[in-house]
Amino acid sequence: MLLEVENLDVRHGRTHAVKALSFGVGADEIVTVLGSNGAGKTSLLRALQGLTPTSGGRVVFAGEDITKLSPPQRLRRGLALVPEGRQIAISLTVHENLLMGVYCRDDGDIARDIKRIYDRFPNLGARRDMSASVLSGGEQQMLAIGRALLARPRLMMLDEPSLGLSPLLVERLFDLIVEIHRDGLAILLVEQNTQMALEIAGRGIVMELGRAALEGAAADLRDDERLAAAYLGDGHS
């Protein structure tokens, strides 16, 4: 397993957002984390990247215990997060956003890799020197993903990337995630769009009030009526 999570606990003051969660993501996998609003998905990803401190458990990445590392240190080891709400820097231009993507690198392939991002997302190239605030929602998502790719991660975590996108763009987004995965990245995908996430993922975890209520192969989860029950959100199913 590339990423191993053992008994992870996350608390926000009195709220116990993630409770003794254990799971893994293999280097060639797409794993999706599902669950209703407030289930603890964002808390989980933020803790994995080191943005939120954990209150118990371990995170092991590529055999190394990274539980105590800062977000930049985790990024340098190959773990990247595309956060909820995209979070591009609108006071920077599109190109400067991409340059921030390579902030953690100092190798010689930077120019080539940035060019590849522009080849992949021509819309971004057309707006290269404009403020990132002029981008549409879909373009912002491309920028956020492109920027994360430039850090050359081994595992990319995405927090509800389809939020607010039109159905057509959602299709394209999921195609893109599959493409990225084919290029050799492991993916940990948090989604509200259950059906589509389970279509591209190999395995899924359904969170309920901070616990893994359900876990298994994506194909099995799709037909499991307990999945729908989890989304009713009563938490006692």
């Binding site: 990247q49 800062s70 930049p72 609108i90 921030m100 902030y103």
Partner: protein
């Protein structure tokens, strides 16, 4: 949040800015036309005084732009440079330096101010950040920086006394140009201030560190997700703050030859006015604001006497805020991501 920004955003408002500059220049040109050489001389002096204010205003605007933090220690960093320099000379600690003692003393003063600024970072900003989460959201850094201001001020009063002191330099080179007297040190100070600030603007706009600072200004969490160790970049900001205040104070001391434990209070309040006038978070705004405040000060003294200065400057500031709340060059939204 849909905030445009002063530096990062495409210069949509560049024409507005040019207009502001032209109008201000026109007002002073008119003053010269009507007032002749006497007024021209006042304007030259005002610009020199403005150079001091703008350097300190840039220090203010930089910390507030990136960290959302009004750094109240800035006046005391300014004062430390002057008083340490005077103290070193007075106590005869610079015997080795001969005729250059004044310069060595001032450089030592700048070094002390910069070190003090880093101490402030360590104990207000970083400490609070690790203890209480995002310190930028708290009023605590502001209050503790006020604490440092008082501590530094009273440390100096205890060790060097509370008197105002003379700090003389062994030269007085005036340049005579078109019948105007321009002090060479003053001209150098204006040049220095503009050069440093132009370099700073370049760094912010075109370097890796600059992009990191602007990303932190917008959202420290994004910066951290992109690999910026925020706790390692923030000290750079405090280093710059110390250097800018030190430079301003060294120029002030050479120009006016006076130091006191309270010299920073006066300059600090004018610099805050200059920053707000120019637009919080805008570096070029701070420059323009500094020059306008300097000019307003000398002209007020000339026309209405020394007691009118504070009233006129703060009155002008209030009028500008009412007409244009974001200041002359400021971004549309006041909030994060101003730089």
């Amino acid at each position: 949040m849909t905030n445009a920004t002063a530096i990062g955003a495409p210069m949509k408002s560049i024409t507005t800015k040019a207009l502001v500059v032209v109008v201000i220049a026109a007002v002073f040109a008119l003053a010269i036309a009507l007032g002749g050489r006497v007024i021209a001389q006042q304007i030259v002096s005002g610009l020199m005084l403005g150079a001091i204010y703008l350097t300190v205003a840039v220090a203010f605007t930089l910390t507030i732009g990136v960290l959302n933090f009004l750094n109240f220690t800035i006046p005391s960093l300014f004062m430390l440079t002057g008083m340490i320099a005077w103290g070193l000379r007075e106590k005869g600690l610079l015997g080795f330096a001969g005729g250059w003692a004044w310069l060595v003393a001032l450089i030592a003063g700048v070094v002390v101010a910069t070190a003090a600024s880093l101490v402030v970072e360590r104990f207000t900003f970083r400490y609070l950040k690790t203890r209480h989460g995002d310190a930028t959201e708290h009023a605590i850094p502001l209050v503790s920086s006020l604490g440092f201001l008082l501590i530094f001020e009273h440390l100096v009063i205890l060790t060097l006394g509370s008197e105002s002191q003379r700090f003389s330099v062994p030269f007085k080179a005036d340049i005579h140009l078109f019948g105007l007297v321009i002090g060479a040190p003053q001209l150098v100070s204006l040049g220095c201030a503009l050069l440093v600030v132009a370099a700073l603007t370049f760094v912010l706009k075109h370097t890796r560190m600059g992009r990191a600072l602007r990303t932190i200004a917008e959202n420290p969490e994004i910066a951290s997700l992109l690999g910026v160790e925020v706790t390692r970049v923030v000290p750079v900001l405090f280093l710059l703050t110390g250097l800018l205040c030190g430079l301003a104070a060294a120029l002030f001391t050479v120009n006016y030859g006076d130091v006191s434990p309270f010299m920073g209070d006066h300059v600090g309040s004018k610099a805050i006015a200059a920053m707000v006038l120019g637009g919080i978070g805008s570096i070029w705004g701070a420059i323009l604001g500094g020059l306008v405040v300097g000019l307003t000060e000398t002209l007020s003294i000339h026309f209405f006497g020394g007691d009118s200065v504070e009233m006129i400057i703060w009155g002008l500031l209030l009028i500008v805020i009412i007409v244009r709340p974001r200041g002359l060059f400021g971004a549309v939204a006041v909030g994060k991501g101003k730089l």
